[in-house]
């Protein structure tokens, strides 16, 4: 902070520099472009000086790590205490094959599991459903019943690992299966650590694996908040995700604005359901993208932390500081990977991962070089994991907390992103909240406008993508891509038959009917889902009951 006298002295010295040094240089050699922009298209000045951060008070806006407003990180020692969790998102084909990949990742130093489910599982269909045809085991592992889940975590002690599950509409069912598997291992629910994504709003916005309409979906989410606060207290009950919003084409500020707007809706829904904010808010977690513009991304994470802290404190009157801390997982940006010269993707991922680390992420997934072509091979995944290990062990960026704080550019951009994100939140509030803004198509339209602009910039070469619109070479088709055997679909069907043949079908029927009654009423549905899961009711049967009671979401198709 500067007083008026110091400020005018700074201004004079800058003007002097411009006249005597800068202009001379510009006269001799002009800059390569008239305007410089971030990856999100916001203006970047030639130079940032203390003049750009005069309104950023250190103590109130930046502060200290582990202390409100958490701009510098949510823990006081950050990576000096413990490095981030290296969590590689994986899953394909059958539970057996995925189990093998998890054990491999753990043996190579991966410190958390992250389960990818196939699309039928994510949309609540069993592998033998007509709509599952061609999709079984493709983008993740197929889970039809508790049986598959037992195989998936076979030999993996669930009291030792933390497990993240990318599951949304049927999150309650998969969480119940996880609890049931742990119980069979002799691990009680209060010892379980992990995360379910459980973020339905961004499914409507950007990711597409919704099942039920908004109201019952929000009820399921608050049921999970409530159940876990009592029974699974170490579980992160939601991962409010900007990742997919960014992948769908948003800017950095939109990613923050739309994600926190979704977060606000979940907090409001839980408060309206009668929960005290400080009982569930400490278990909320976030998930952001790590895109190409390194410094803009660092500013984005810092802005998100600060803005969420202010929202929780001022808007929701949280008392517990843990309710104000934005903890987040990061994944590098899949949409930036190129099918051309795929090895270049290793470099992109390394830069993006660096942004996430400089921004203070709690866990990180690094994409593999071949993901614009297929699911990654073991070799590619290993390079991606090694990238994180090199960052953690060799680069030195972990030695001090929030090393880029105080950079005039970073602080100015942090403030700018925070302000822009807040403008989006205000706009969404005016429309009646995130769910309403989604119904109106506002959020989707903002994102697709940005996506279209991005693509047109690539085509006009205003935006350079190495290997795609510059530095192209003739290439041979890549070899050795991972392929999922189509037989997986048949194998899963057989497994469902086997499970149905040996289970107690009377008990299954009874539990499903009890669930139906619970869904129609106002009780918490989690215990009913857990009982059904334990009798080996399938995911499709459980979601089927809920579909019948709740109905299905109708997407607003907009261009």
């Amino acid at each position: 902070m500067y007083n008026e006298e110091e400020f005018s002295r700074l201004k004079r010295s800058r003007e002097n520099w411009e006249e005597t040094v800068l202009n001379k240089s510009l006269n001799k050699a002009p800059e390569s472009k008239t305007e410089f922009k971030t990856g999100s298209g916001t203006t970047v000045n030639r130079l940032y000086t203390p003049e750009d951060t005069t309104d950023v008070d250190y103590e109130t806006e930046i502060g200290y790590p582990g202390q409100y407003p958490f701009t510098r990180g949510y823990q006081p020692t950050m990576y000096r205490g413990k490095t981030w969790t290296m969590r590689m998102y994986a899953g394909f084909a059958t539970a057996e094959e995925s189990n093998e990949r998890y054990k491999y990742l753990v043996s190579q130093g991966s410190t958390g599991l992250s389960v990818a489910f196939d699309l039928p599982t994510q949309i609540g269909y069993d592998s033998d459903h007509a709509l599952a045809q061609g999709e079984v085991g493709k983008v993740g592992v197929a889970i039809d019943s508790l049986k598959d889940m037992e195989i998936l975590f076979d030999g993996i002690p669930l009291d030792k690992v933390s497990t993240s599950m990318t599951i949304n509409a049927p999150a309650s069912v998969l969480l119940a299966m996880y609890i049931a598997v742990a119980e069979k291992q002799g691990v009680s629910a209060d010892k379980l650590r992990g995360t379910i994504q459980n973020d339905i709003l961004k499914e409507y916005i950007a990711r597409g694996t919704y099942i039920f309409p908004t109201d019952p979906s929000m009820r399921l989410i608050t049921n999970i908040f409530e159940y876990c606060s009592k029974e699974v207290p170490k579980w992160n009950t939601i991962s409010i995700s900007g990742y997919h919003i960014r992948e769908a084409g948003s800017t950095a500020a939109q990613e923050v604005g739309f994600t926190l707007a979704d977060g606000i809706s979940y907090v409001e829904a839980a408060i309206n359901a009668g929960l005290d904010v400080d009982t569930f808010a400490p278990r909320l977690s976030f998930f952001f993208n790590a895109h190409n513009d390194l410094l803009e991304e660092v500013a984005k994470y810092r802005a998100a932390r600060r803005l969420w802290a202010k929202i929780m404190k001022n808007r929701f009157k949280a008392k517990n500081e843990k309710s104000m801390m934005l903890k987040f997982h990061t994944q590098t940006a899949g949409s930036t990977l190129t099918a051309q010269q795929p090895d270049n993707n290793i470099i992109r991922v390394a830069m993006q991962a660096l942004a996430a680390v400089l921004g203070g992420t709690q866990s990180l997934h690094t994409n593999s070089r071949d993901e614009a072509l297929a699911l990654p091979t073991t070799d590619s995944v290993t390079i991606a994991l090694r990238t994180q290990q090199i960052l953690a062990n060799e680069t030195g960026v972990t030695n001090t907390v929030d090393p880029l704080a105080g950079s005039y550019y970073i602080e100015a951009k942090t403030k700018e992103i925070e302000e822009k994100a807040m403008e989006y939140i205000n706009k969404i509030d005016e429309l009646g909240g995130a769910a309403r803004a989604i119904d109106l198509g506002y959020i989707q339209k903002e994102i697709s406008d940005s996506a279209y602009k991005y693509q047109m910039e690539i085509e006009s070469k205003d935006r350079i993508v190495v290997g795609v619109n510059k530095y192209q070479v003739e290439e041979e088709a890549p070899k050795g891509l991972l392929r999922v055997d189509p037989i997986v679909g048949e194998m899963q069907k057989k497994k469902i038959e086997d499970v149905k043949a040996v289970r107690n079908s009377e008990a299954v029927k009874e539990k499903l009917e009890a669930l139906r009654t619970a869904c129609k009423g106002t009780e918490n549905v989690m215990p009913f889902i857990l009982s059904a899961v334990k009798e080996y009711a399938t995911l499709g049967e459980i979601c089927g009951v809920m579909r019948e009671v709740f109905g299905e979401y109708e997407q607003a198709v907009l261009l």
Binding site: E203, G208, S335, L373, A451, Q455, A477
Partner: protein, 132 residues
Amino acid sequence: MRPIRVLVAKPGLDGHDRGAKVIARALRDAGMEVIYTGLRQTPEQIVAAAVQEDVDVVGLSILSGAHNYLFPRVAELMKEQGAGDVLIIGGGVIPDEDIPGLKEAGVSEIFTPGTTTTEMIEFIKGNLKRDI
């Protein structure tokens, strides 16, 4: 000459529609009439929409890896419905080695990541199977 009519469709359960939407918009900006189906369409639904809307082109987008089942199924049903003169094109995360089989099944071209919308527009204009 009337405008070219295109159905942009998302077969299967895949929710990634950034590409489909960008393309739909680019085709529209190029003067075509574009209908976008939205997510989670079965081959039967896509073909019914194509026939009902009397389109000249069906563009299929899929990133989940289910293309080898879903693309040929759409092409087959189109023929069954007497709409064999509709140009079918596809795009998404599709390995090169799958492309010959898809073309044999009746998909005229597969566009993989990095394709420009201009290339696609030119392809459509040059490869229509109907007179318009």
